[in-house]
Symmetry: C2
Subunit: 161 residues, 2 copies
């Protein structure tokens, strides 16, 4: 029989080790590029931008690039069947608005970010940092999505992460 | 110093163990319920159904429940801005159709299913089994989505899976 090491004496040692490895990974290690649109853009422009960039969620920013809102494919679909003029409707009318946006930061463990995605039933989180001396304004650094997490899962399963 | 066991002598032992644990999980262990719509339904009905069931992908089935197609939120958004009459347009016109659907089976490792999601850039895979004696017909047993994978990642990170 192999000698047993203290660390591996718990009833499910490998599970604990998997959890420990996952907890080490930070948002900053795997975040994707931010995909943004200006708050003044129309819903129609947001839809076109979503197809061109092939993303499911766009971050809505002001002229200085600070986070104002988030708009999902679901929000756009709802607007598209609503019967309004999509070229005249500003995206700011249908977006989820600050301070109701669930965000993450580069230092947060990816596990915590993934938990936010599940609990708040969103597809993506903006990765942000506070803007120095500007109160609650947030600069958008990137995004973490269900695709990012699925990709990380594949890398972990292949022993690449 | 702790005694070392052969298994843990590789240069990145914990990574290998994480990969090994992930490889053990099968699609059948974590699949979600299928969300289906009949091929005769309209695009409008598909959109309503997607909102009511709060899913991003619907499986399109024939009268016997066999897989005919898959329709995503992206397909519906494209149709919604296309200007047609959504109540008259059958969902079968816009769906991805057999045999072009990427599927998985209960016995497949989740890792392989997750890889399919990433490689084929889809949000969800139908979990299927062949129908006995009916050629290429597939019965829909469930679904694996990026949400399923994100949820599994959270469970692994919390030591629950």
């Amino acid at each position: 029989a192999r000698p047993r090491v203290g660390y591996f004496l718990s009833s499910k040692p490998s599970q604990a080790l998997v959890a420990e490895e996952i907890k080490k990974i930070r948002v900053g290690d795997i975040k994707g590029l931010p995909r943004v649109i200006r708050a003044g853009a129309s819903v129609y422009e947001a839809i076109v931008s979503m197809f061109l960039e092939d993303v499911g969620t766009l971050m809505v920013v002001d002229d200085e690039g600070h986070l104002e809102g988030v708009v999902s494919r679901k929000d756009l679909l709802k607007a598209a069947i609503g019967g309004g003029d999509l070229q005249k409707m500003p995206v700011s009318v249908i977006m989820t608005r600050m301070p109701n946006i669930i965000c993450t930061t580069p230092d947060e463990p990816v596990l915590a970010a993934a938990r936010k995605i599940i609990e708040h039933e969103v597809d993506a989180l903006p990765v942000v940092r506070p803007v120095n001396g500007q109160g609650k304004k947030l600069k958008v650094l990137g995004r973490i999505t269900k695709t990012t997490i699925t990709n990380l899962f594949v890398e972990l399963g292949e022993g690449r992460s």
